[in-house]
Amino acid sequence: MEKLFKIKFAGDKAISVEFKNEISEETNNYVAALRNLIEDSKTIGIEECIPTYRALTICYNPIELTYEKLEEKINELMGDIESFSNTESKVYVIPVYYGGEFGPDIENVAKQNNLTKKEVVKIHTGVDYRIYMLGFTPGFPYLGGMDETISTPRLVKPRIKVNAGSVGIAGSQTGIYPIDSPGGWQIIGRTPVKLFDIDNEEPVLLNAGNYIRFKSIDYKTYERILKEVNSNTFNIEIKKTTKRGE
């Protein structure tokens, strides 16, 4: 039987614990579970983790924790992993105003897939998207699980500036821009929720290993939420879920 994981070097201050070489919720669950086990273990010398699709990068201080001790610790924690890899996760409900000025490419997406705008919104809001990892820019979620019937290639000419909060499609991926940045995604809507806000005590809203559900809102609701976000009174709706990715 193939071993569940491999420990590899990422320099002299980090290791990479690799799981099966695939993008799947099952494999990503192991990454999330090991990250949580490490956090709970409060091991002296482990500084931080970077969870990704199928690997967990663990940064450590070799002066406080030798490589041998770290390896031992990982093997010990992996012994408990099965009972933790399907623990409860969250579903963040992200309100989105679709189309119009905020979603200039929704017509494109509809046309290319022989759908109406309404159908695009229905399909896009119809599933929970797995947050496999955060990266690329602060707070950017790599989401999985989009219905192929709305997949659309990137724009031929990327935009110089895409506003923070923009929700887009690129191929079979969907995502949200946390900060203003250049980009070539097909923009179908915008959320008033801030995914990255340095003025907030916890600057990043989302956590890898959880889920996102988009919810269609009208312009009035968009404005109301935006006001709440700006006055720090907005509370994001979070649903609990269990037993994912089986």
Partner: protein, 347 residues
């Protein structure tokens, strides 16, 4: 309030501490000084915490005016700093500054990055545990950007202990030398198994030149193409500084302080942490030879480097420079000005 004002920012000057740790899992870049050895020494000299924020200058330094008395130190690349356009300042020692003094830096002679620390550090907001500037993210440091002319940065109003700080210096033996041909020690992995034997051999047996694309995010190198077994792409995983990515064209990129936290190219190896400062001091056309070490070696080297820093800290109490004397000496009717720095062992 105490402050310094930017008369000329230089080519690219940012405020950096040792980095923003703890937020990589949210996609937040670590940042921090590129040459952390020079950074730590600069702070130690002026009695700061090693992590305190300071100025990192690149290739061409700036010019700054101080509006209060303090102590500073300059480490890293020698950019020929001048005090009030008249006195050439030495690196790797403390310098007493009086209100109104102007320090002007030129171009780096050897090396690439110079560090200016000020006793007490900067009065700047801490964002996610750090004062480091992350220019791409537009946050940290001074207004989330590189310094500009007329910026005025507040200093912590610490009263510095003159007796404690004056005459502190680093022994010439411990001052690093910045060469344009360097040996860089690496640990193979995590994707060394994605390369052919020939690919690994070429990586370890050929010199690589620093290209013109070299910034705080990473250094692109040029040299013998490194061949993959199948593909250069992997399912994106974490990136830490020192990672050596090999994209499809087979030319290495060394990821540095401002690198993204995740990426999808194969990483053949990582530069050991103790050698990262050497890369920070390289400029385009400088040459790197990679040498393989194992994890045990790397950790021994790291401990040796920490020991050097510990020795430096202890050394402050043993040796001091007395006030510099400038003597005029006439030999064969020619007049020479001789700087005399007398070391006193009485401390």
């Amino acid at each position: 309030m105490a402050s310094i004002k930017v008369i000329n920012p230089g080519m690219y000057t940012t405020i950096q501490d040792l980095g923003r740790t703890g937020y990589q899992e949210y996609g937040v870049t670590v940042s921090g000084s590129m040459d952390q050895f020079a950074h730590r020494i600069a702070n130690l000299l002026v009695g700061n915490n090693q992590n305190e924020a300071l100025l990192e200058m690149t290739i061409m330094g700036g010019s700054f005016i101080f509006n209060s008395d303090t102590f500073i130190s300059i480490t890293g690349a020698d950019m020929k700093p001048m005090l009030n356009n008249s006195i050439r300042l030495d690196l790797w020692r403390t310098i007493k500054i009086q209100k109104g003094d102007i320090i002007t830096f030129g171009a780096a002679k050897n090396g690439c990055r110079s560090y200016l620390s000020i006793a007490g550090g900067f009065e700047l907001p801490t964002i996610m545990n750090s004062k480091s500037t992350y220019v791409r993210g537009k946050f940290g440091g001074f207004k989330g950007r590189a310094l500009k002319k007329d910026d005025e940065i507040l200093l912590n109003n610490d009263i510095c202990n003159e007796e404690e700080l004056s005459g502190r210096f680093i022994d010439l033996k411990t001052v690093p030398k910045y060469n344009n041909k360097v040996n860089i020690r690496v640990i193979l992995g995590p994707q060394d198994d994605e390369f052919s034997e020939e690919g690994i051999f070429d990586f370890l047996n050929n010199p690589y030149k620093v290209s013109s694309e070299f910034d705080r995010m990473g250094y692109r190198l040029e040299g013998t193409e490194i061949k993959h077994l199948k593909t250069a792409d992997i399912i994106s995983d974490g990136i830490v500084k020192g990672a050596i990515q090999i994209p499809g064209k087979g030319q290495p990129i060394i990821m540095l302080a401002d690198c993204q936290t995740t990426g999808g190219y194969t990483k053949i190896a990582h530069v050991i942490s103790s050698d990262l400062w050497k890369i920070a001091q390289l400029k385009p056309n400088d040459e790197i030879s990679f040498i393989k070490v194992d994890i045990k070696n790397a950790h021994e080297i790291l401990k040796e480097q920490e020991e050097i820093i510990n020795k430096i800290i202890k050394g402050f109490d043993k040796q001091r420079l007395k006030v510099e004397k400038n003597l005029k000496i006439a030999i064969n009717n020619k007049t020479f000005i001789v700087k005399v720095n007398e070391i006193s062992e009485t401390y």
